[in-house]
Amino acid sequence: MAIAIKLDDLLHDRRMTLTELADRVGMTLANLSILKTGKARAIRFSTLDAICTALSCQPGDILRFESDAEVEPAS
């Protein structure tokens, strides 16, 4: 997937656990784990809105586009 999730860094910066974030955004820990590990196929605007509100950040702070050339090491 070319879209990477940077939730780990944000949580670390905010000194917040995934369980606390799940409580604040009203999501299940399982669903949040799916998002954090990059296994989600799509994200709702409402979810993005809730996470940005809880972490006081912008969507761009959570999502990052990584091109294939960036992901795969040059041969």
Binding site: K39, A40, R41, A42, I43, R44
Partner: protein, 172 residues
């Protein structure tokens, strides 16, 4: 939400009964085919002694019986897959990839059954004479071909629905 809670159990039981009836019909057709070896008996049973070409009529009846016998496993394929689809509905998750495959198999099998029906109808017309008319419930059926078309469409709808369902499952 479900307006007809009894619909699924009724469909399940009906399909199970139809599977049994299908095999019973298969056994009866097989018995008729074996009995047709005795041409005298067949001629008496169907009052063919006065027919201008009794041998042709008997051969036609045998061909119809063979085709009828071929339709039995085809019917079974359709009914068995319908039972499996009803079971997934009862389990609460019918939009699975395997149901799209099952519907596609049903569509191809219904197509084969329509071809068999056409062949039976054609044989009936060939061997039928003004004195001995064969009234076979077979031939070209607009409803039958429409059912084939609808089942192919439904299989496609299920395939698309399954993909959408998988997307939804991965949405957070």
């Amino acid at each position: 939400m479900n307006k007809f809670p009894a619909a699924l159990p009724i469909a399940y039981i009906t399909l199970r009964i139809l599977i049994v009836i299908n095999w019973v019909f298969g056994a009866m057709i097989l018995a008729l085919l074996i009995a047709s070896a005795n041409e005298q008996w067949i001629m008496r049973a169907f009052h063919l002694s006065t027919a201008p070409n009794p041998a042709g009529l008997i051969m036609g009846l045998r061909a119809v019986a063979v085709l009828g016998l071929a339709a039995i496993p085809l019917n079974y394929v359709v009914l068995k897959r319908l039972v499996a689809i009803v079971e997934t509905v009862r389990e609460g998750d019918p939009f699975v990839a395997v149901n799209a495959t099952r519907l596609l198999t049903i569509a191809w099998t219904l197509l084969a059954l329509q071809v068999v029906s056409l062949m039976i109808g054609t044989i009936g017309k060939i061997v039928s004479t003004p004195e001995h008319r064969l009234h076979l419930d077979a031939g070209l059926s607009v409803n039958g071909w429409l059912a084939v078309l609808l089942t192919f469409l439904l299989a496609r709808v299920f395939a698309e629905g399954t993909l959408m369902r998988e997307d939804l499952k991965g949405t957070v």
